[in-house]
């Protein structure tokens, strides 16, 4: 019963988060300076009749709230309207690009989880040289913005060494991996640093806990102590930060996709924003928000597995 209620509250929160963000996205896009008419006419001044036609076709004269409700109603059914620039369905334009962005984010997430948590554990469990090296490396990673990382990686691995292709998405599994490796690294670097730092701190903190001392006093071998009492208990904060950084990758991917000319959602979002293609901006923004919310839901499910105290807290509520 409690699990059912837990799921229900989570679902309600999810819907609320989506509603609020959809409103923010819709109004921000509508309030942005510049008229969508200018985009529709490519900057030319149209005769009034034609302007009127466009206004009616794109519902530009409806009151704001009505437009929002209409948009939301259609969006729920998967219809984000028509792109002003290409006159194509926004949903179709999005679904054509979502896969590549999804792959890029997945690749980067794997790098973040494996390398970030790995480095964090290494630094947390070993003192001395290993710890200091990780600290220096993560400080460096965190300080380099994704677009600088992209540039540096391109210079080093594409221009100088020629190990990876420079631009595009690649064909087939191997081609994809080849093409996405440098973008994924650029996208992951800062997050790797954050996850590593938080993991290190969490491991250190758990090591100082009194229950770890109890286990030690019982003569539990160190490996088991680390696995069952330190890392196991540090898993909750590690999950939190991993979830947050991974969820934010969808938005961050824009920069990297631009740098490596990948035709994904992010680069398309930037392009659409530049041409005032409002329907596209709104559509992609919503997709990013949904991805963010879904990742957070997954994190919540992880908590449920990792921390029994949360399970009973649900009972009492």
């Amino acid at each position: 019963m409690s699990m059912f209620r837990w799921a229900l509250t989570r679902l309600a929160r999810l819907v609320a988060a989506l509603l609020i963000s959809s409103f923010v996205i819709f109004s921000a896009a509508s309030l942005a300076p510049g008229s969508p008419l200018a985009a529709l006419s490519n900057g030319r001044t149209l005769p009034p009749e034609q302007q009127e036609q466009l206004r009616v076709r794109f519902h530009l004269d409806d009151p704001f709230l009505l437009r929002y409700v209409k948009w939301l109603w259609n969006a729920v059914q998967g219809d984000f309207g028509v792109s002003i620039a290409s006159r194509d369905d926004v949903s179709r334009l999005i679904s054509g690009r979502i896969w590549i962005t999804g792959q890029l984010v997945l690749y980067a997430s794997i790098l973040i989880l494996v390398i970030g948590i790995g480095l964090g554990l290494l630094a947390g469990l070993r003192r001395g040289a290993a710890d200091s090296s990780v600290l220096v490396a993560t400080a460096l990673f965190a300080a380099v913005p994704a677009f600088v990382a992209a540039t540096l990686l391109t210079i080093l691995f594409v221009t100088e060494l020629g190990w990876f292709p420079a631009l595009g998405e690649g064909k087939g599994f191997v081609g994809r991996i080849e093409h996405l490796t440098l973008p994924a690294i650029s996208l992951a670097m800062a997050s790797i640093a954050i996850v590593a730092r938080v993991t290190r701190a969490a491991v250190r903190e758990e090591f100082g806990r009194e229950h770890v001392q109890t286990a030690e006093s019982r003569g539990i071998p160190r490996r088991q102590l680390v696995r069952r009492h330190v890392v196991r208990n540090a898993a909750v904060p590690i999950t939190t930060v991993s979830g947050l950084t991974v969820a934010s990758l969808f938005a961050l991917s824009a920069i990297v996709e631009r740098a490596f000319s990948i035709n994904g959602l992010g680069s398309y979002l930037v392009r659409a924003a530049g041409t005032k293609d409002i329907a596209v901006v709104q559509g992609i923004s919503m997709v990013i928000v949904v991805a963010f919310v879904v990742v957070n839901l997954l994190v919540d499910v992880c908590y449920l597995v990792l921390d029994p105290r949360i399970r009973t807290a649900g009972d009492r509520r």
Binding site: E210, H211, V212, Q213, T214, E216, S217, I220, R228
Partner: protein
């Protein structure tokens, strides 16, 4: 019978603010098999640190000198598997069970983990023993409790789980570090009774750490009183309670509230307790708070001298003997 535990001139220094400061300043103790010794003192007197030194649980950077022998073997130099084997013989019961039991693992895991890791028992044997011991500490539905998480049990119940789990590996020495301090008063008595009973049944030696001198005296054969990282008096509990030889012991006994006498205010010991690293070198550490302090007390640090079957660390022991008040009988 040879001693189970022998401590000689144990000195422990901890890094505080960059420098090593002494927290234990020469502890000598002897504990026979099956004997219970109370270790009493104010916060910071070094009683917990003594237990930690025995079980080798000192904080990082601690420096130890002197010797601790368990069953004749030196434990201060044990490492790796030898240290783990020694720790099976010594079980610790901590003050706050809530923070000393892993909150995300089940009670059953907590109890059986060590014996399974040591390879002395199969999971099934360990579970059966855990159920038996939970029954022994008077926990109802023991089988069902094994599947519970710590936060689902009350503090008193959790401390009984801690005691039961301390007995899992059939240890020979129990280090009980204020096992009832974190519990409320009614639970305290019950937990204490269970601990005492199980210890006697199993012939376990125990070092019982508390700030409650009368409780220590009630439960233990002998009691040692600590002050500023040293033992200031040690004797049979009866002797300590009724015929204290050290002014500090006497002051501790007199600062207890009494039921039979109405007092306008409690007799507190004047002044603040001293950390062991604040203790003066060439003087008695208690001299500043002692109502009997004389010139001799601040010119030389008194040694622990044998008196009346016990020992005390007081320069004026011969003059004060028999004049100090204990608990009236």
């Amino acid at each position: 019978m040879s001693a189970l535990l022998e401590i000689d001139d144990l000195v422990v220094r901890l890094p505080v603010g960059g420098a090593l400061r002494p927290v234990l300043r020469g502890i000598d103790l002897r504990l026979d098999a099956g004997e219970a010794l109370g270790l009493v003192g104010e916060s910071g007197s070094g009683k917990s640190m003594t237990a930690r030194a025995i079980d080798r649980l000192l904080p990082r950077g601690a420096e130890t000198s002197g010797s601790i022998r368990f069953d004749g073997d030196e434990v201060t130099t044990l490492r790796g598997a030898d240290l783990r084997r020694f720790r099976r013989e010594v079980s610790m019961v901590f003050q706050d069970p809530r923070s000393h039991i892993n909150p995300v693992r089940r009670i059953g895991d907590f109890m059986t983990e060590a014996v399974i890791a040591h390879g002395t028992m199969s999971r099934r044997e360990a579970t059966a023993l855990a159920i038996e011991l939970l029954g022994a500490v008077r926990i109802t539905n023991p089988t069902e409790r094994l599947h519970r998480f710590p936060h689902e049990l009350s503090g008193g119940m959790l401390q009984r789980v801690m005691i039961a789990s301390a007995l899992m590996g059939s240890p020979r020495l129990l280090l009980a570090d204020e096992p009832t301090t974190a519990l409320d008063v009614t639970t305290q008595a019950e937990v204490m009774a269970i601990l005492d009973e199980l210890r006697r049944e199993r012939g376990l030696a125990m070092i019982f750490i508390t700030h409650d001198l009368e409780l220590a005296a009630a439960v233990c054969d002998r009691t040692a009183v600590m002050y500023a990282g040293q033992i200031v008096e040690i004797n049979t509990s009866r002797h300590i309670e009724h015929d204290p030889l050290h002014p500090y012991t006497s002051a501790l006994l007199r600062s207890r509230p009494r039921i039979d006498v109405t007092m306008t205010r409690l007799e507190a010991i004047p002044g603040q307790p001293l950390s062991s690293f604040e203790a003066p070198d060439g003087a008695c550490a208690f001299a500043g708070r002692c109502p009997h302090a004389a010139d001799a007390c601040v010119t030389a640090a008194p040694p622990l001298v044998d008196v009346d079957g016990g020992a005390t660390r007081c320069s004026r022991v011969d003059e004060l003997r028999g004049t100090l008040h204990g608990v009236d009988t």
